[in-house]
C-alpha cells in the first residue's frame, strides 16, 4: 500500500527554536488551545473542573490503546482488531464473573486475554509474515465473533462494587483513576519510544525493515512484542470500559479501532511508518476529547462530531502539504 518514497536527509540541522515552533506538536497544541477557548466561549458549562474531568472520560480508554498503536504504526504495521480484543476481554471477564471470580482476578483475566489476543496477531504477522492489515481484519471479526458466540444477545451484569473503581473512581478531587493511569502510561511510553534503544529500533524498522535486519535489529521479535503490547493495552482499556459501563455486551466498543487510528494519525504518526511522537498522540487524544465533549455540550449529535473529526484528520495532513507547495511556488 505504501508508495515508493524519497526521503531527503538534510546536510545541516535546522535552527532548533524554529523547528520547535513549526513542529507538528506546536500545531496540535495550537489547535487544542483554540478548541479549549472556543468551548469556554460557546458554553458557560465548560469552564468547570467537573466538566473538564468528565470530558476526559471521552478519550482516556481509547488513548491508552493509541499509545501502543502508535508504536505498531511507527514500526510499519497496523492493528485493526483492538476494539474486538476489548469485546473479547470484556466477555471473558463477564464469563469469569459467573464463577464468582473477584475484582483482582477479573483484572488479571482481562489483561491476560488481551495479551493472548495480541500474541495471536503477532504470531500471524511476524511468525507467518502475513500483512498485518488483512490479519487484523480477520482477527477483528474472529475475536468479536467469539464474544457473540459466548453472549449471543445476552449481557453479563453484576460486577462487584469494588470493580467499579477503575472506570468510575477518583484518585483525588476531580482527578479520575483513568486520567492518572493514562498520564503514567503516556510517560512510560514516551520514555520507551524516545529514550531507549528499543524505541530507536522501532523507528529503524519503520523506516527500513531490511536495513534494520542487516543492522542486527530483531525485526520479527520486536513486531511480535508490539502486537502483544497492543493486546495488553486493549485488555487494560477493556477493564476500564467494563468497569465504567458495569456490563458487557458483545457489541461493546464497536468502531473504536478507527477512532484509535485517527488519534494516532492526527498525532503526527506517519501511517507509512518510521515517524511519530508520543507527545503528538497525547495532544491528538486531547483534541478529540475536547471536540467531542464541547460539541456534546452544545447538543451537537455524535454523528455530526464525526464529520468534524474526519475533516480534522484530512485537513491536518493536507494543510502542511499544501503550505509546502505554496512556499515552493513562492520561492521559485
Amino acid at each position: 500500500m505504501s508508495d515508493t518514497q524519497i526521503r531527503r536527509i538534510p546536510d545541516r540541522l535546522d535552527n532548533p527554536l524554529r523547528s520547535a515552533i513549526f513542529s507538528w506538536q506546536s500545531l496540535l497544541l495550537l489547535v487544542a488551545t483554540a478548541i479549549f477557548v472556543a468551548n469556554s466561549l460557546a458554553t458557560p458549562y465548560f469552564l468547570n473542573p467537573w466538566s473538564i474531568s468528565d470530558a476526559t472520560f471521552n478519550f482516556t480508554e481509547k488513548a491508552l490503546i493509541a499509545l501502543a498503536m502508535a508504536l505498531v504504526i511507527i514500526s510499519g504495521e497496523i492493528d485493526l482488531s483492538v476494539a474486538a480484543i476489548i469485546a473479547f476481554c470484556s466477555t471473558m471477564m463477564g464469563f469469569a464473573l459467573q464463577f464468582g471470580v473477584g475484582t483482582f482476578g477479573l483484572v488479571v483475566i482481562g489483561i491476560t486475554t488481551g495479551l493472548l489476543c495480541g500474541a495471536f496477531n503477532g504470531a500471524l504477522v511476524s511468525g507467518l509474515r502475513l500483512p498485518s492489515i488483512v490479519v487484523t481484519i480477520g482477527t477483528m471479526s474472529f475475536f468479536r465473533g467469539l464474544s457473540f458466540i459466548v453472549l449471543g444477545d445476552q449481557a453479563f451484569k453484576g460486577y462487584p462494587s469494588s470493580f467499579a473503581y477503575f472506570g468510575q473512581g477518583y484518585v483525588w478531587w476531580v482527578v479520575s483513576f483513568e486520567v492518572v493511569l493514562f498520564l503514567i502510561m503516556a510517560v512510560i511510553f514516551y520514555f520507551v519510544l524516545h529514550r531507549t534503544s528499543f524505541g530507536r529500533q522501532i523507528f529503524v524498522i519503520g523506516n527500513n525493515p531490511v536495513t534494520a535486519e542487516f543492522s542486527g535489529v530483531r525485526v520479527r521479535r520486536i513486531k511480535f512484542l508490539l502486537f502483544c503490547l497492543t493486546g495488553v493495552m486493549s485488555g487494560l482499556a477493556a477493564v476500564l470500559l467494563t468497569s465504567r459501563l458495569g456490563s458487557t455486551r458483545p457489541s461493546i466498543a464497536t468502531g473504536w479501532e478507527l477512532e484509535v487510528i485517527t488519534m494516532v494519525v492526527l498525532g503526527g504518526v506517519s501511517i507509512l511508518g518510521g515517524a511519530g511522537s508520543i507527545i503528538g498522540v497525547v495532544l491528538a487524544a486531547l483534541i478529540m476529547g475536547l471536540v467531542t465533549f464541547g460539541l456534546g455540550l452544545l447538543n451537537v449529535p455524535g454523528i455530526v462530531m464525526s464529520i468534524v473529526i474526519g475533516t480534522l484528520l484530512i485537513a491536518v495532513i493536507a494543510l502542511p502539504i499544501l503550505a509546502g507547495r505554496l512556499r515552493a511556488r513562492m520561492e521559485r
Binding site: 500500500m1 505504501s2 508508495d3 515508493t4 524519497i6 497496523i78 485493526l80 500471524l124 507467518l128 509474515r129 502475513l130 500483512p131 492489515i133 488483512v134 490479519v135 481484519i137 480477520g138 482477527t139 477483528m140 471479526s141 474472529f142 475475536f143 468479536r144 465473533g145 467469539l146 457473540f148 458466540i149 453472549l151 449471543g152 444477545d153 464497536t254 468502531g255 478507527l258 487510528i261 485517527t262 494519525v265 501511517i271 507509512l272 449529535p301 454523528i303 455530526v304 462530531m305 464525526s306 464529520i307 473529526i309 474526519g310 475533516t311 484528520l313 484530512i314 495532513i317 493536507a318 502539504i321 499544501l322
Partner: protein, 326 residues
C-alpha cells in the same frame, strides 16, 4: 493440468462446491438450483462492491469509505423518491451512481493530488460521508411506506425468473471482466500494482490511475446505494454500517493480494459468494447465527495463510526507484 492446480480460482471454486455439497448432505434442498439462485441474489450487492474494492486494492490502495458512500448515495435517492415519487427509477439509479462517483473522485483526488495514503483519506471520508447522511436526512429514517412501488420493484422484478438485483450483479461482473482484461485502463491497474516504478517508465500515470480506481469504486458503491435501499426498503444512517470490512474480507478470501497487482474478477466473485454461502448455510444446519462473525473471521485468516503460500514469487529489481505520483 499443473496450471489448473496452481489456479487459485479453481481451488476456491472447488472449496465452494464441497461446502455446498456438505451442507446439502445435512439439509437436502440447500443445493437446489432455486436455493442457489436465492443465495446469489442475496450476495449480489457484496459481489458488486467486492469488484469495486478489488480494483482499488489492485493499485496498492484501499477504500474504507465504500459502505459510507453506499449509505449516502442510498439516502440521497431515498429522500428524492420520498419527496418526488414521480422521478423514474432509471434516473434515480443514475443519480445514485453519479453521486457515488463524485464521492469516490474526492477520495481519488486526495490520493492523487496530495499523495495522502489511501487508508488515511478513506478513514476520514468514511466518517464525513456517514455524518453527512445524518445532516441531509435530519436524523430521520426513510421507511417503506415513503418509497414508491416502482422504487421497491427495481430490485425485485423478475426477468426469466431471476430478480433484477441478480441481473445487476451479472451485468457488473461482465463489465468488470471486459474492463480488466480488454482495456488499457485494466492493464494499467494491474501494472501499477505489480510495479509502480516500472509503470512510470512505461508511461502510466500512477496517480491518475489510482484516481480512476477510486472513482470506479465510488460509482459501484453509489449504484449499490440504490440497490440496498430498494432491497431492504430502508434508508438510514445505519445502512451498511461496518460493511466496508466485509467487502475487503470478500476480496481477501477470493485471493486478491493486499500488496496489489494480484486478483481477477473470478477472485472477487468467488470470495463474495463464499461468504454468502456460509451466511445462508449456518441457519440451515442449525448453527446459531451468532457463529457467523467468528466463522467469517476464521475464513479470512485461513485465506490469508493459504494465499501467502501460493503467491510468494521472486523478482529482481532492475531499475532504481522513480518518483511515483507526479
Amino acid at each position: 493440468m499443473s496450471k489448473l492446480m496452481k489456479n487459485r480460482e479453481f481451488w476456491l471454486a472447488l472449496a465452494l462446491a464441497v461446502l455446498i455439497w456438505g451442507v446439502t448432505l445435512r439439509a437436502p434442498g440447500f443445493g437446489a438450483s432455486s436455493n442457489l439462485l436465492d443465495i446469489f441474489n442475496n450476495t449480489s450487492i457484496l459481489v458488486i462492491l467486492a469488484l469495486g474494492q478489488m480494483v482499488v486494492i489492485l493499485t496498492r490502495s484501499i477504500d474504507l469509505s465504500m459502505a459510507a458512500t453506499l449509505a449516502l448515495s442510498g439516502m440521497i435517492v431515498a429522500l428524492l423518491n420520498a419527496a418526488y415519487p414521480g422521478i423514474p427509477v432509471p434516473i434515480l439509479l443514475a443519480i445514485a451512481a453519479i453521486s457515488g462517483a463524485i464521492l469516490g473522485a474526492v477520495n481519488g483526488l486526495l490520493v492523487w493530488k496530495l499523495n495522502i495514503p489511501s487508508i488515511v483519506v478513506t478513514l476520514g471520508t468514511l466518517t464525513i460521508y456517514r455524518g453527512t447522511i445524518f445532516l441531509i436526512a435530519g436524523g430521520q429514517w426513510v421507511n417503506a411506506d415513503q418509497l414508491s412501488p416502482a422504487f421497491i420493484a427495481g430490485t425485485r422484478l423478475p426477468i426469466l425468473g431471476i430478480p433484477l438485483l441478480s441481473w445487476f450483479a451479472v451485468l457488473i461482473v461482465v463489465v468488470f471482466f471486459i474492463m480488466l482484461t480488454r482495456t488499457t485502463i485494466g492493464r494499467a491497474l494491474y501494472a501499477i500494482g505489480v510495479n509502480p516504478t516500472a509503470s512510470v517508465y512505461a508511461g502510466i500515470n500512477v496517480g491518475k490511475t489510482k484516481f480512476i480506481a477510486f472513482t470506479i469504486a465510488g460509482t459501484v458503491s453509489g449504484l449499490c446505494g440504490y440497490l440496498w435501499v430498494s432491497r431492504y426498503v430502508i434508508g438510514s444512517v445505519e445502512v451498511a454500517k461496518g460493511y466496508e470490512l466485509s467487502i475487503i474480507a470478500a476480496c481477501v478470501i477470493g485471493g486478491v493480494s493486499i500488496a496489489g497487482g494480484i486478483g481477477t474478477v473470478g477472485s472477487a466473485l468467488l470470495g463474495a459468494l463464499f461468504l454468502g454461502v456460509i451466511n445462508s448455510a449456518l441457519p440451515v444446519i442449525n448453527i446459531s447465527p451468532f457463529w457467523q462473525m467468528a466463522i467469517s473471521g476464521a475464513a479470512i485468516i485461513l485465506a490469508v495463510i493459504f494465499n501467502s503460500r501460493t503467491s510468494r514469487q521472486k523478482g529482481r529489481i532492475i531499475l532504481k526507484s522513480a518518483r511515483v505520483g507526479e
